[in-house]
Every structure is written in C-alpha cells, then in structure tokens.
C-alpha cells in the first residue's frame, strides 16, 4: 500500500454504509440487469479483489464510468474510481479486445481519418460497411461516429491571420482529439472568446489526454500519454500560464482522472492539475474577478427558447457546479432549460460498443425526449452540451443539432458587435 491514492480509494470503501443510494441513481442499473449496480461491483466486490486473485465480478465492465454514483453518495465513497481500477485489472488478466484497443486510440484514429477524410467519412456513412465493422470488431453499426473535418484545428489555427499577441495574458489551449479532428469550430469559438478578452492563445504540443484508454482499462498506455503531456505542458505551466480546454473529459483527465487512477502524484503532476481549467470554469472565474467582458447581445436565432442544456457527466465530475449556465445568464434575454437526466448514455466510448449500444440509448432516452420537447419550441431546434461525445449522442438520439456553450458565447459577443478577435469561417 505504498500508493497513497490507492490507499485513499481502499479506505473510501470503508465509508460505504450500504444505503444503496448509488444503486437508485445509477442510470445503467436502471435499464439493464447486466449491471447489478455501483454498490455491488464497487465497494462490495472490492473486498474480494486482492493481488494475484482472480477478479470476482466481471459485470464491472458494464459500469459506464458516468460517476453519478460518486455524485449522490452521502459518505464520499470513490465508487467510479474503484470500478475503473477493477476494469483495468480484468484487462491485465484477460487482455484487451482489438476493438477497445482501437477505441482507446482516439488520436491515432483521428490522424488516419484526417489523412483519408473523404474515404473515412464515406465508410462511416456506408451501411453495409458499418455492418462489417460491427461483425468484425464490434462497433455498433448505429453508433454515432462523427465525420472527420478534413482540416485539423491545429492547421486552421496556424493559418489564421491577425492572431492576438499579449505580453501578459496568455493561455495554453488544450484542444483534445475531438476539436482537432472532428470539430475545429469549437476550438475556434474558444479562441475568439479568449482573444476578445485579451488573451493570447498558445497552441502547445499535446497528445491525447488518455481518457479513452483509461476508460477501456488500458492503464499502461494511458500513463505514456499523460507523461508526454506533462513534458510538453509543464514548461508553460511553470511560467504561470493556465491550460484551458473545451473538452470537459480532457480537462478532467489532466486535472484528476489520470493522476488518481494511475497513481501519478509527483509535484509536477500536481502543478499541471492546479493550472488546468475547463473553458467555462475559466471564464466564470474571470467574471467573478470582474475581468470578463460582458458586451453580449442576444443573437436573433435565440429569441425563442428555452435552449435545452445538458451538463455532461464529465463536467459534473469536475464538481464545479454549472459554469456554462452561470455564463449564459450573462447574455441578456437568453433562456436556458437545464436537463435533469443523469447521463446521455454514450459515456465516451461505452455506447459505441455493440453489446452496450442499446444500453446507452436506453440510458439516454429521457434526455433525448427532454431535448426534443424543449427544442421543439424553437424555429431552428438546438441543444447545448459541453462534452463532444455527448453532443454526438444527443444529436443521434434526438435528431437535434447540439453545440458547445462556448459557441453561443461567441455568437453573443458577435451579436454585441465588438468582437475584436479575428473571425474564421
């Protein structure tokens, strides 16, 4: 027990009072009996997990990692972390299926897809080919796989003209794989908002945060990713620059998931943690210090409403409240309705897997209904969510286009008429 994080996880299970509040809140146990619930596979099964002993409970693989259990637990048991570590032990025992190895490599998939974007996108839209993919590697034929943008965020960013320079206000943008390969427009919206507030945006070298590997139980590979990011990000952090990301899962991984699950608790790792911010959290903090520009105006397309907003699991796991909602209230006249759904069901790569696809859709059913019904009042239906895979799943399940809140903030600055940053179309 030299690892203090493992020690704290092990000790947290002794705080379990078996009240089953986690079981009542678990969105997966509610829709399938393949997962008995967080209490059973978490603190209860953990007592039977010992080094060198076989894993007692393989149903832990059906944990989606949404962390709703942690959020509702009245005694602070780190259930989701116990489950993630248990899954890694099963992977170590039995090996990793090819499918999960692939899904863990978001960056590699992005690089390949970027090179052959038209072909890759055609493949992803091709029904018969998707059936072949489903049968051979087990990615569900219906699962929401977004198209490659064909132009990476990094390439677009470097080609931008008139980038804002600042001697004093700089942030490092952590774009993550989704923004780089699939949704460069989300990154560009963040850059516009940051520059409008006088920040020079730095594009540091970076690798995939490693979360897809962590959630598929591939810990050794995830460790390499985190250590590579430490190397390239630390020089900036040491100069005092914050690391800001639009992907709530990447920033959560840098902040907490990687250090906690992998037991990386060096002074360097803590330094990176302390400087990492979700974009909305960062902007809210600016606002609380009176440093955020508030020259917002309501874009005409949002005069109706309310806009449905879903706080994704990976944002809730930051435990910072609802920074996007706090910011959106600064836009005069904008009405937003917050979803009460526990989860959209995708949980990163969980809902892509053939054997879990339907579970994910059942988990998200309530959210899809909420989004459809709320957005129905708008001439151009739209939903908001901070996390990329959740946006894709919400759109897949509800047929309502879904944006990152930063895009609405950017639109509201534009509507305000004073956007100083360079616009990119």
């Amino acid at each position: 027990m030299s690892d203090p994080i493992l020690q704290s996880l092990e000790q947290s299970l002794d705080h379990c009072i078996k009240c089953n509040i986690c079981t009542t809140a678990c969105p997966v146990a509610a829709v399938t009996d393949l997962f008995p619930g967080p209490k059973y596979v978490g603190p209860q099964a953990q007592r039977f997990r010992r080094p060198g002993q076989p894993s007692p409970d393989h149903s832990v693989d059906y944990c989606s990692g949404c962390r709703v259990c942690n959020m509702v637990c009245p005694t602070g048991v780190k259930i989701a972390e116990l489950n993630a570590r248990a899954r890694a032990e099963i992977v170590a025992e039995r090996g990793l299926p090819l499918r999960n190895r692939l899904l863990g490599r978001a960056e590699l998939l992005g690089q390949v897809g970027d090179l052959f974007a038209p072909l890759a996108n055609w493949t992803l839209r091709n029904g018969p080919l998707r059936q072949v993919i489903e049968r051979t590697i087990g990615v569900d034929r219906h699962a929401p796989l977004p198209p490659f943008s064909g132009q990476t965020f990094r390439r677009i960013f470097r080609k931008r003209r008139g980038r804002l320079r600042s001697a004093t206000k700089k942030v490092v943008f952590f774009h993550g794989c989704a923004t780089n390969y699939y949704e460069p427009h989300v990154g560009l919206a963040a850059v516009e908002v940051l520059e409008h507030n006088g920040f020079e945006v730095i594009l540091a070298r970076q690798r995939c945060c490693g979360l897809p590997m962590l959630s598929n139980g591939e810990f050794a590979a995830a460790r390499q990713q985190h250590e590579a990011n430490l190397q390239t990000l630390l020089p900036w952090v040491r100069r005092g620059y914050p690391i800001v990301g639009t992907s709530t899962s990447c920033t959560l991984t840098l902040k907490e998931e990687a250090p906690e699950l992998l037991g990386i608790h060096s002074a360097d790792a803590r330094l990176l943690t302390a400087h990492t911010w979700d974009i909305c959290e960062f902007l809210r903090d600016l606002h609380e210090r009176g440093e955020l520009r508030t020259d917002f105006a309501l874009p005409p397309e949002f005069t109706d409403g309310p806009l449905p907003y879903h706080p994704p699991c990976q944002l809730r796991a930051h435990r910072i409240g609802r920074p996007a909602l706090d910011l959106l209230t600064l836009i005069p006249g904008l009405r937003v309705a917050e979803s009460e759904a526990a989860c959209c069901g995708i949980a990163g790569t969980y809902g892509l897997k053939q054997e879990k696809y339907q579970i994910g859709m059942d988990v998200g059913a309530g959210l899809f209904r909420f989004v459809r019904e709320t957005a129905a009042t708008m001439p151009q239906p739209l939903a908001l969510c901070d996390s990329e895979t959740c946006r894709w799943q919400i759109t897949h399940g509800s047929a309502v286009p879904t944006k990152h809140p930063i895009e609405i903030l950017r639109d509201a600055y534009r509507a305000g008429g004073n956007l100083t940053g360079t616009q990119v179309h």
Binding site: C19, N20, I21, T23, T24, A25, A29, A30, D33, P36, G37, N70, M71, V72, C73, P74, T75, G76, L252, K255, E256, T273, A274, T276, W277, R284, E288, R316, A317, H318, R319, I320, G321, R322, L325, D326, E338, E340
Partner: protein
C-alpha cells in the same frame, strides 16, 4: 455568481428552506455531499409522539433548547402547507391532522405515529384488534421485506394479519429487483394489473392489503388507486429499508419545485472551509477536481443533519465536529457518556447539536452569534432526540421554514406574521 443564500444540505430541512427562499424571489443554491436523509427515511411526516402531535409540540416547546421552542406550531403549519401544496400539485397528495396522529405499521410490525402521510399510505392506519383483517403481500425478489415477519409481530399485538408472497409478473429483467426498479415497473399499467389480479385472488377476507413501498414513482397515487381497484380492497404502502422510494418521491417533488422557482442544486460537493470577515461568512469553499470552488452569498443556511445525516463526525478523541463549517457541537463530554446502559433507552449522544439563539443563529458558549449571517435548521440543531420523539420531519419542516424566515428578515426586512401565527396555534389547541 453571488447568491442571496446558500443552503448546505439537501435533506428535508434544506429543501424546504431553499424552496421558501426561492419562492420569495431570492437567488438560492443548495449544495450537498450527495443524497441523504430523504432517501433513507419513510417519506411521511412524523411531528411528535402522543395522540395529538400539536399538544406534544407545545409541551416540547417548553424545553428551553428544543428546536420546537424556536420554531413551533407557528412555523410548522406554513411549512406543512408548502409541502402539501407542492405534493398535491405533483399528484401525490398528503393528508393528516396536527391534532391527531395516525399509527402506521412498519416493516417490522411496529406502530409509527405520523401526522401526515402520502395518499399511498393513507389506508394504512393499523386496524384495531377487534376490527379488520390485514393481508401483507410482497415479492421474494425484493430483498429486505418479509411479510411473515411483519404479520407475526402484528399478530402478537392482537392484529389479524396474514402474510402472502406473490409471484412477480414476467418482465425483461431477470434479477436486480431493487425498490426503485420495482417502482418503475409499477408505473406500467399492465404490471400493476397483473399484481392487482393476484391480490384479488389471494385476499380472502382481508379488508386491507399492505405492500412494500415500491408502488410507483411519479404516478404513485394512481398506482395505489389502480391496485386497490384491481384487488377490491384498499392497498397501502409500508416503508422499506433504505433506499426509500417514498422518500425519493418527496425529494424529487421538492427539488423540482425548488429548481422551477429558479434555485440551483449542486450535489457531490463537500464543504472544505469557510471564509469570514467581521463576524460574517463571506464565502464557502467546496472540494473539486484541481482546486476548491469558491461560493459567495449574502447569507448561509446550514441543514446538514445530525450524526445519521453526516452533519457531525466523531474524532478519535470522542469529540464531535460539525463537518461543513466547523461549528462547535454541544455533546456529552466523553465517549463513556454517549450511551445509556440499555439499548431501548434515551441515548445522550442523540441529543448532540448546535446551540442557537431564538432566530436559529448558532451561538458560542457565551451566547454571542458565531456568524451574524448564518442560520441552522433540521437535525443539526440537537437539544433533543428526534428519533425517539418521532419529530424528525416536523423539526426539519418547522426549523427549515423558520430559519428561512430569519434569512428573509435579514435580506428583505420581512417580518414573520407573528399575530396570525399565534391565532393559528390557538385554533389548533
């Protein structure tokens, strides 16, 4: 983001006070570690033991440090009105009377005095020995509810009670029949029809049927009415071991009312420290990934519960600490004094709590307020043994309402309608 009031704790006291404040137009945040007391408790309203809860409350209010001495019937009545109005609006009406307790059977066959009960329990008053016959039904698939145990204990008290296992209608699910899963199944008309038919077939001469409290979530009153129709006699719910479905219904109704009134709820957040200046709390901090989150507000309301709710924790030394703000806790001097010699006896540790002034502001030993913009509600108040008194919900409601009144008074200069309250109290007695 600066709130008018931050409520710490999402149990009954926190929800009711938050709701009152939000409905008065204040910006309110309820912050909590997780779900708690609502999900553990029976989901009805116990006000006090004795045939007349109102009379007992008046008696208890005579004890100087009792929570009812600070917030008695005058606060309890409007709090109950608030609760009843929102539950009725959610098709989950409560009925009852502060002048008369109803005695409902527990899963062990004990009799629980309750002032107000949801419609799903309303038919459950324990029959007198010479009156009706009670059938207690259940599913073996539901852990922790044993009809025969409950029936045996009721028979020992002279109640004609029989037990009966039912067979669970076939569903897509093969195992894992937790209270919440069963409650969801009962929301389906075909499922409750199948159960109702079985009840009719096995009911014999029974005039009432008791069932574990898993009879629906958002349509529970409808589920019980349908089951009663199918069975041909009134069906009522008996609270189960945690998790409590009736408690979850109450949480859901109050939380939705609170957010509809503009309130915000943040779960999974543990308060780590407090920042103060000149006797006022200026901000709270909660644990978060990477760094603490700072929360600013004009006023603060502590409703974190007692020992059971997690509001207090005992250190190795035997000293009790208040977990959110580090307030002083009045408790037995040492571990040896915590417990009485007998299990069924008043336990001194259960009276541990935070000392307050008449406005529910926590005070130091010398009587001076610790912070002028902080009030306390619910089981954290101590000064009495709520479980033993059967006053757990009554105290949460009355003090939650009253503490919110102090906040309104401080922020808006709203005075409590004292005269009206006094008249109301007189009417009740």
């Amino acid at each position: 983001m600066t709130y008018d009031c931050i409520v710490i704790g999402a149990g009954l006291a926190g929800l009711v006070s938050g709701l009152r404040l939000a409905e008065a137009g204040l910006q309110v945040l309820i912050i909590a570690k997780g779900h708690g007391a609502t999900h553990w408790a029976h989901g009805a309203v116990g006000v006090a033991h004795g045939s007349s809860p109102a009379a007992t409350v008046t008696y208890l209010a005579g004890q100087p440090n009792h929570p009812y001495a600070r917030a008695g019937l005058a606060a309890l009545a409007p709090a109950l009105n608030l609760l009843q109005a929102h539950c009725a609006a959610a098709d989950y009406p409560f009925s009852g009377d502060l002048a008369r307790n109803q005695y409902l059977p527990t899963a062990l066959g004990a009799r629980l005095p309750l002032a107000f009960v949801p419609a799903t329990m309303a038919a459950g008053a324990v029959p007198r020995a010479d009156a009706a016959a009670l059938l207690i039904a259940g599913f073996q698939e539901l852990r922790d509810f044993f009809p025969s145990l409950m029936a045996a204990n009721l028979r020992a008290q002279g109640v004609a009670a029989q037990a009966q296992w039912l067979s669970l209608p076939t569903t897509a699910r093969r195992h894992g029949f937790t209270p919440t899963i069963l409650a969801e199944l009962f929301e389906q008309p075909s499922f409750r029809q199948a159960v109702g038919r079985q009840l009719r077939a096995v009911r014999g001469t029974a005039t009432q049927i008791a069932f574990p409290a898993v009879l629906g979530q958002s349509q529970a009153a409808r589920v019980v009415a349908d089951l009663s129709d199918h069975a041909g006699v009134p069906v009522f719910e008996v609270p189960t071991l945690p998790p409590s479905v009736p408690g979850m219904r109450l949480y859901t109704i109050l939380a939705q009312a609170f957010t509809s009134a503009g309130g915000r709820i943040q779960l999974g957040s543990w308060i780590t420290r407090v920042e103060s200046n000149a006797g006022r709390i200026t901000a709270l901090y909660s644990a978060a990934a990477a760094r603490e989150q700072r929360h600013q507000a004009a006023t603060f309301l502590l409703a974190t519960g007692g020992i059971a709710g997690g509001g207090f924790r005992a250190e190795q030394s035997g000293q009790l600490t208040e977990t959110a703000l580090g307030l002083p806790v009045v408790a037995p001097a040492h571990r040896g004094a915590w417990f009485a010699n007998q299990f069924i006896a008043p336990q001194p540790i259960h009276t541990a709590g935070i000392l307050t002034d008449a406005a529910l502001r926590p005070i130091a030993a010398n009587g001076a307020p610790l912070y002028t913009n902080l009030v306390v509600a619910g089981a954290a108040l101590g000064g009495t043994d709520l479980i033993r008194e059967g006053s757990y919900e009554g105290v949460a409601l009355a003090t939650g309402w009253y503490a919110a009144g102090t906040v309104l008074n401080d922020l808006l200069g709203v005075r409590e309608p004292v005269d009206q309250a006094a008249t109301f109290t007189k009417e009740l007695l």
